[in-house]
Amino acid sequence: MSYAKSKFKHKDLPVNDIGLTYRDYEGAISTLCAGCGHDSISSAIVHACAELSIEPHKIVKMSGIGCSSKAPNYFLNNAHGFNTVHGRMPSVTTGANMANKDLTYLAMSGDGDSASIGLGQFAHVVRRQLNMVYMVANNGVYGLTKGQLAATSDKGVISKTGDVSLFNDIDLCTMALQLGASFVARCFSGDKRQLIPIIKAAIAHQGFAFIDIISPCVTFNNHQDSTRSYDYVQDHVITGAITDFVPVKDEISCEIPEGTFEDVCLHDGSIMRIQKLDQSYDTNNRYKAMNDIEEHKSKGEILTGLLFIDPTARTFHELNDTTDTPLNQLKQEVLCPGERILGSINNSFR
């Protein structure tokens, strides 16, 4: 484990549109286990934000409790962060977003945090169509408490200590789809080429973006019987489509050859380019996506990639009809109706 981060910056490091290098998007040094999938997620977030040229301080990092929820400390040092209580990140993020809709909310949660203690909060934040990126670092195990089975563990798998998962697993992507999320993806933390563009698209997407990231736990869930080990995931991952993200002002030049793709235009004008590997793959059909997830699962496969997107969905503030100025910037003159009006209210009680 490293204990200090090098301050050295290569002078030729490329800068983005606002003059920052990816190093300006880094966080504190990780204290997670060497090889932890979560560190790959942090790194993908750093690159996604740098490539999008977002001002780091316009991002708010939110998390619950667990290994996953420690991760926001390891990216975006110049962004505020709030490591809340176990399973309750969605409500705190809701309140933060209600207060200031102009910031980007990047939330990290885990399978214990979202699929067990926080399942209710997860379900309801999806319903509310909060404009946020909700990432679950899903390793199928409780890391910080040393190896207990999680609600996302596949039925029948055996934990490192020999406990068998007796009960049905919860698939958070299926739930998110059923509850109306407007952006749902599943990724593998080991595949940056897939993860970075999907995180970028999720940030650009106006609405609730959910990414379930299979992120193996090297310490407690990387054994032979696990269905979340690096080896197992690599062998069973199926990608429905390769996605690339084209920011709003770039000329469209990406690695996907012409004629084999579908372009989805996001709210801000940027484009999500989807190259289908399976011709029946359809990111516009919520119900088919749910079906595809289950079908692959029944074959022992993990379907990854962008599963569903609806770029036209209305967000919480649109549904609420909130004023354009962020609520936390409204001044007393606007908020307080004043003495004279209070006088007439008093009269209504006489």
Binding site: H57, N78, F82, N320, E339, G343
Partner: protein, 640 residues
């Protein structure tokens, strides 16, 4: 109160009826021929869901419109339709508007289910107004009370066609009859009907007609007015008749709240409903028609306070309202807000616990669970409003306090204060008063700083500077959390970092005393040996009990606690009296525990007077408990 209280005949009568008080009293009965003016209790016994509430409210308001002080308590079931419900109206020109205690003077008995108990609740010489469309069976006829039967059902059957009207107008008919019986100015009722149905003019005529029906019946069949009657006075001044939850909801509007997460729970729901309806009137952006506020009905109380904390972290004034079970659920989050130092306002409308308890009955039983909510060493700021006026004032104030102190502030109202209408000073707000947003650094201030640490005690008062997300490109960002950290908000498991932080939080809480509203004293009896401490909704009963005790030759001085942490003045008050009583509405004397614990007192210094039956404490009970205690002590001293 601007005028001198006169001797309250009824209160004395009831006090004397209490055996523990009658040792040297002669049993004087109520004078028979002299009318009792502006001093009685009317109780309406109804079935809930029958539309009685608005008629009963009209009755209370008509007394107020005649310039006579009035108080009303709704004693209702946790049920929507078909269960017994009572509405108790206290008319008293000395402004004794809490519950008097003793039996009822005039009972309007409209519920067959509760009839027997309602009859037993009528005092000797009192009146029972009932529907005699069917003959009352013999066992319901008791001596010493007057029966005033009105064939209300038959009148409705004859006069109205629509079944719903036949039901609703029953209530209006008995109000009309009461107007004749008690000499209420009929034109006052007529005006109230017009006010109530503004915009629905079609309803005015049938309502006034129903009032007339009752009025005429009483005039024709009874000797009007009764011994009990009202006479016009000018004793209301600029006061308003309103419930405390309206005060809290409106206080949050004026206090600048914009973010609300909430979960429906009796008796707090109307706080949010009022906030919402006033916001929809007063907080709509004139240019765009969009909302200058956001309210989310959450999935539970945990999420409700989570949202308020998220809003507070991001610099919007945020709050939630709940009751006991919600407090239990919110405890973990209150600990987070305390430790991460996030401003948040919580309005607790207390009800009878534990567990689901009695959801529609009042208590002051969340003091300990709120003062020390959450695991670990925590302490929270509590405010204790005693009137709708203070519900407004303290809710607005709570936002300033929580921004200033960067910690949760809990407004401790209760069902009686929150849901019943009280005669209250009008809500006031001074436009010159500026919101105190506390120590929040601007871009310019951050630019000037060489170093920023979120939990650094720069000013030595325990209150640190906070920054809001999105403020400055490269200064002031911090990662806050419920885990231990150093002054720069960096995760730390060092004992010294943890201890320093906890000690600073303790210092901040002590510092908070200087921002709290001071306890209020009502003294003036130079020779008083007895001090009485109280807080919140028991105020009206206590002020009356002081008067009752004075009549018994026992002067007492009063001190009303308005906030926790406790100020020095409370310690001084306790030190100044040989005997201190503490009045509270819970079983275990929670305020007594809190005072003993925080002020390091021998609990024996504080004698509890407790009421926890779910109803508001009565003036008679307080006076009688204090009197009994004092007499026992006298006897003991003499025996020594």
């Amino acid at each position: 109160m601007s005028h001198q209280p006169k001797k309250s005949q009824q209160a004395v009568k009831n006090l004397q009826a209490n055996p523990s008080l009658t040792s040297n009293q002669s049993q004087t009965s109520k004078p028979n021929n002299q009318p009792i003016v502006n001093d009685f209790v009317v109780k309406f016994a109804n079935t809930n869901g029958t539309g009685s509430a608005s008629a009963n409210h009209m009755f209370a308001k008509s007394i107020m419109r005649m310039g006579i002080p009035v108080g009303a308590k709704n004693i209702f079931p946790s049920n929507i339709q078909g269960a017994p419900t009572w509405y108790e109206v206290r008319v008293n020109e000395n402004n004794f508007l809490g519950r008097r205690g003793g039996k009822t003077d005039i009972m309007v008995a409209m519920n067959a289910q509760s009839l027997m108990n309602d009859i037993l609740d009528v005092c000797d010489g009192g009146y029972l107004i009932y529907d005699n469309s069917k003959t009352l069976p013999d066992q319901f006829v008791k001596p010493n009370i007057h029966y005033l039967g009105i064939p209300i059902s038959n009148i409705c059957l004859k006069e109205f066609q629509n079944p719903r009207q036949r039901q609703l107008f029953k209530n209006v008919i008995y109000i009309g009859a009461l107007a004749a019986l008690l000499k209420i100015d009929f034109s006052v009722l007529r005006t109230l009907v017009s006010d109530q149905f503004k915009g629905k003019e079609k309803l005015i005529t049938p309502n006034v007609y129903a009032l007339e029906l009752g009025h005429q019946y009483a005039k024709t069949h009874f000797d009007c007015p009764l011994n009990y009657q009202v006479q016009r006075r000018e004793l209301i001044g600029n006061r308003i008749l309103v419930d405390g939850n309206t005060g809290c909801g409106l206080g949050a509007v004026f206090g600048g709240a914009t973010v609300v997460g909430w979960y429906p729970i009796t008796p707090s729901t109307s706080v949010i409903e009022k906030f919402n309806s006033y916001c929809n009137r007063l907080r709509i952006d004139p240019a765009t028609g969009k909302k200058n506020f956001a309210i989310v009905q959450a999935e539970d109380e945990i999420a409700a306070i989570g949202m308020a904390i998220g809003g507070g972290f991001n610099g919007a004034r945020s709050f939630t309202a709940t009751s006991g079970p919600g407090i239990s659920l919110m405890s973990e989050f209150l600990g987070l807000a305390y430790f991460a130092e996030v401003p948040v306002v919580l309005i607790n409308i207390q009800r009878a616990g534990p567990s689901t308890g009695m959801p529609t009955r009042t208590q002051q039983s969340d003091l300990i669970s709120c003062a020390y909510a959450s695991h670990g060493d925590t302490k929270h700021i509590l405010l204790f409003p005693s009137s709708p006026y203070e519900c407004f004032e303290m809710t607005a104030m709570a936002f300033d306090l929580s921004d200033r102190l960067q910690t949760p502030v809990i407004v401790m109202s209760d069902l009686d204060l929150g849901m019943n209408e009280h005669l209250s000073p009008p809500f006031t707000y001074n436009d010159k008063q500026k919101y105190d947003l506390g120590k929040v650094l601007s871009v310019r201030e951050l630019d000037e700083l060489s170093h920023y640490g979120r939990y650094q005690d720069v000013d030595g008062d325990g209150i640190c500077y906070r920054t809001l997300p999105g403020t400055h490109p490269d200064k002031g960002a911090y990662f806050t959390r419920g885990t231990s950290r150093n002054a720069n908000a960096v995760y730390s498991e060092k004992s010294s970092d943890y201890v320093q932080n906890m000690q600073r939080l303790e210092k901040k809480f002590k510092q908070a005393k200087s921002y709290m509203p001071k306890a209020e004293t009502l003294s003036g009896f130079n020779k008083a040996q007895i001090g009485v401490l109280y807080f919140g909704s028991t105020t009206q009963a206590i002020v009356e009990s002081r008067h009752l005790l004075m009549e018994q030759g026992i002067p007492v001085d009063l001190m009303r606690i308005k906030a926790f942490p406790f100020g020095k003045e409370i310690e001084q008050f306790i030190e100044s009296y040989a005997k201190i009583f503490i009045i509270e509405q819970n079983r275990d004397g929670q305020m007594r525990t809190l005072l003993s614990n925080e002020l390091n007192l021998d609990p024996k210094r504080l004698t509890p007077v407790l009421c926890f039956d779910g109803l508001s404490i009565t003036a008679n009970q307080i006076a009688s408990d204090i009197l009994t205690d004092v007499k026992v002590q006298d006897v003991n001293q003499k025996a020594c």
